[in-house]
């Protein structure tokens, strides 16, 4: 087992485009770290550089106390689970799991002991004699994990391991992976584009965009203190709402009216003109349900569509944004693999709310949870540095309930 340390890692392809640009991440021994981002952000490339399937253009990659830049994959002693599992179709499940051991030339009884150990852990005992072609998706996934855990690898690497499973199985396997990692206590790097997996599995999460590391933090910190517009938009579902905003004193003008924000936040953004305000859907509520109408943080808006889900409901409220904000939001949508759609507010309401489609509703907004972003750079101007420092200090492996 070992720590993995990446220092100023750069990957350039033939055309000179940096797929990974100056990324530095230290993965502590036994830590579970997630690389997340939309497609093309360089997360898989980074993982493949760790395992040695991709050359490192510049920078230093360390596993334990060895610099591994020039080592072949087989000399790095890492185990990897591939997106398509990469099971060998001509070998039985048993032989698939035994494959790395056979290559290492281990004795038959030793191989047998380790394979049976792994298969017991992963509940594969009854499938050992079958070929991968006859297995279900979840079983294949477990065989791939078996091939990883059977060796005493320094670290586990996962490349979108759950993306080929259906939603229900994905949830089960996610828990399974988390449980296994906790039990083995092995350093793990896990690539995904799914922010739910990122939030639930990782001790820390590295968010990447177009090869550049945007933020490396605990899931809770990513959620509550996003560094910039991109991280804010990427983490959370439904995503954070972005609204054009101008601040005067402690008053923020939104498309629907003015609300008051805490003094500390307001001070940081004085005189900056047009900004982008970010508010998560759950930080809105039906003013009637909250029971504090008209205290300066409510506004009235016409609700276009309501989706009632039982425990909560989502209300959609379209609005117009000025062109400079619109351009930035369209760009963000593209960065997030989405399509530029109409600008609308998504509001999560309590299940008890009686707001109907077409209603002119009074909505309350939890303004101390509002972030304000620079529309040019996307930077979060209202980051609460103190909270961030606290989070860092109390970093613990179990803080993943995000």
């Amino acid at each position: 087992m070992a720590a993995i340390s990446m220092k100023n890692i750069v990957k350039k392809y033939g055309d000179g485009f940096p797929a990974v640009n100056d990324v530095s991440i230290d993965v502590a021994d036994g830590e579970f770290i997630i690389l997340v981002g939309p497609s093309g952000c360089g997360k898989s490339t980074l993982l493949r550089m760790i395992v040695g399937l991709e050359d490192i253009t510049s920078g230093e990659m360390r596993i334990g106390d060895r610099v591994v830049n020039d080592l072949a994959p087989r000399d790095r002693n890492l185990a990897m689970v591939f997106q398509n599992y990469a099971l060998y179709p001509h070998l039985t499940v048993y032989e698939n799991i035994a494959f790395p051991l056979r290559l290492a030339g281990e004795k038959d009884d030793e191989v047998d002991r380790k394979v049976r150990d792994a298969s017991a852990t992963l509940e594969l005992d009854e499938h050992l004699d079958r070929k991968p072609g006859n297995l279900s998706g979840g079983q294949r996934q477990r065989v791939a994990m078996g091939r990883a855990i059977v060796r005493d690898a320094d670290a586990f690497l996962f490349d979108e391991p759950l993306s080929n499973l259906d939603a229900k199985l994905r949830g089960q396997m996610r828990t399974e992976i988390a449980r296994l990692q906790r039990r083995l206590g092995i350093t793990t790097v896990y690539v995904t584009h799914d922010q739910t997996e990122a939030m639930t599995l990782g001790d820390r999460v590295a968010v990447l965009k177009r090869g550049v590391l945007q933020q490396l933090a605990t899931p809770r910190e990513l959620y509550t203190q996003p560094n910039n517009l991109f991280v804010a938009g990427f983490i959370g579902s439904p995503p954070m709402n972005f609204l054009p905003a101008t601040v005067e004193g402690d008053q923020v003008s939104l498309p629907f009216g003015k609300v008051r924000i805490p003094q500390a936040k307001a001070e940081r953004v004085q005189g900056r003109g047009l900004l982008i305000a970010g508010v998560r859907p759950e930080h809105f509520e039906d003013a009637d349900v909250v029971g504090k109408p008209g205290d300066g943080s409510t506004f009235r808006a016409k609700v276009d569509v309501v989706e009632w889900l039982g425990n909560e409901s989502y209300a959609y409220i379209p609005f117009e944004a000025p062109p400079e904000v619109q351009a930035q939001l369209d760009q963000l949508e593209r960065d997030l693999d989405g399509e530029a759609m109409r600008t609308q507010l998504v509001v999560s309401l309590d299940g008890a709310s009686r707001i109907r489609e077409g209603d002119e509703a009074e909505l309350w907004i939890e303004t101390d949870q509002m972030h304000l972003f620079d529309p040019e750079t996307g930077e979060n101007l209202t980051l609460d540095r103190k909270v961030e420092d606290n989070e860092q200090a109390t970093l613990e492996h179990t803080a993943t309930d995000g």
């Binding site: 100023n8 100056d22 990324v23 530095s24 050359d55 490192i56 253009t57 510049s58 920078g59 230093e60 830049n69 020039d70 550049v212 590391l213 945007q214 933020q215 560094n227």
Partner: protein
């Protein structure tokens, strides 16, 4: 977010080289692996064709090798001004056009049948592969014997042909007989290529067309065929060039008599039967150039995707 501290000079200098090391190693390995195949392919084609080019400028007969003398482009002039050359070129083009046209239609019908059929797939596959695998010379013999009036069955089976009609007594019937053998032997190949193309037309699309109210013919011409275009074009390209080189059937069935000779057969006759290596070489070069021309015309005319023909993905 990371802030870049200048990378140590040693690293910056060392690493770009290592990257190219791996690419260079891959480059070298790739070349090493293809080299033997490439050499074998070129040894028997590029070198002889260059030698043919050189020989074609000589008057060189195997019966009198000592009298070899340089005569410039005389061989070419002789060939190109001879009506026999042009008649054979014309004949070859007719062989190509007619056989490919028939093969395309019959092959497509076969492909449709094989695509739809669920039962007895193995038997159909086996039957269709037998003409594909059989020696062309055997096919030539089988059809020649079938067409001869002394012992063939064709005259007896065809109602509008008299029992003693000599198929090999005149150009048109002899050419028909040769074409029948050629078409019989090569249609399976065509139909298998078309079957593969047919398998790639999505069933959903055809059903959507059905729902949209397209008739069987409309589905065929507006949905199925346009979506198989690439497969059809590659099949036509391969078969047309193959048909342009027709030789075996002519050799066996008529030996070039009755004006059934193709350009390949003419070349063969000049060099091997008459030992005129100089003239034969000139014809070989002309044959080679005419194949290039035919390939070029097909590729341009039908806009065949050469990358696909090359097997690149």
């Amino acid at each position: 977010m990371t802030t870049t501290v200048a990378t140590p000079a040693t690293q910056a200098g060392r690493q770009p080289q290592e990257v190219s090391d791996r690419t260079r190693a891959e480059n070298r390995l790739g070349m090493k692996l293809v080299a033997p195949a490439l050499v074998v392919m070129l040894v028997v084609t590029a070198f002889p064709i260059l030698r043919a080019l050189w020989l074609s400028f000589y008057n060189y007969s195997l019966t009198a090798p000592e009298d070899r003398q340089f005569i410039g482009i005389d061989n070419y002039v002789t060939a190109l001004t001879d009506s026999l050359f042009w008649r054979d070129i014309g004949m070859t083009v007719i062989y190509m056009l007619v056989t490919v046209a028939f093969e395309l239609v019959i092959g497509f019908a076969f492909a449709m049948i094989m695509h739809r059929v669920i039962f007895a797939r193995g038997i159909i596959r086996t039957s269709i592969l037998i003409p594909y695998g059989i020696i062309t010379v055997v096919s030539g013999f089988a059809w020649q014997f079938a067409f001869t009036y002394q012992n063939g069955f064709i005259n007896g089976w065809l109602p509008f042909v008299s029992a003693d009609f000599n198929w090999f007594g005149d150009t048109v019937p002899a050419v028909i007989a040769i074409m029948v053998s050629e078409i019989w032997k090569t249609t399976p190949f065509m139909s298998l290529l078309l079957l593969a193309g047919l398998a790639q037309v999505s069933e959903d699309m055809i059903e959507a067309a059905k729902v949209d109210g397209a008739t069987w013919w409309q589905r065929l011409f507006k949905v199925i065929l346009p979506n198989m275009r690439a497969a059809i074009m590659v099949a036509v390209l391969f078969r047309a060039l193959d048909a342009y080189r027709i030789f075996d059937n002519i050799f066996v069935m008529t030996a070039g008599a009755q004006g059934t000779e193709s350009i390949s057969f003419l070349t063969y006759r000049q060099s091997i039967e008459q030992f005129q290596l100089g003239m034969g070489s000139a014809l070989a070069v002309l044959l080679f150039l005419s194949v290039l021309l035919v390939a070029f015309i097909i590729v341009k005319l039908f806009r065949v995707d050469l990358a696909q023909a090359r097997g690149e993905s």
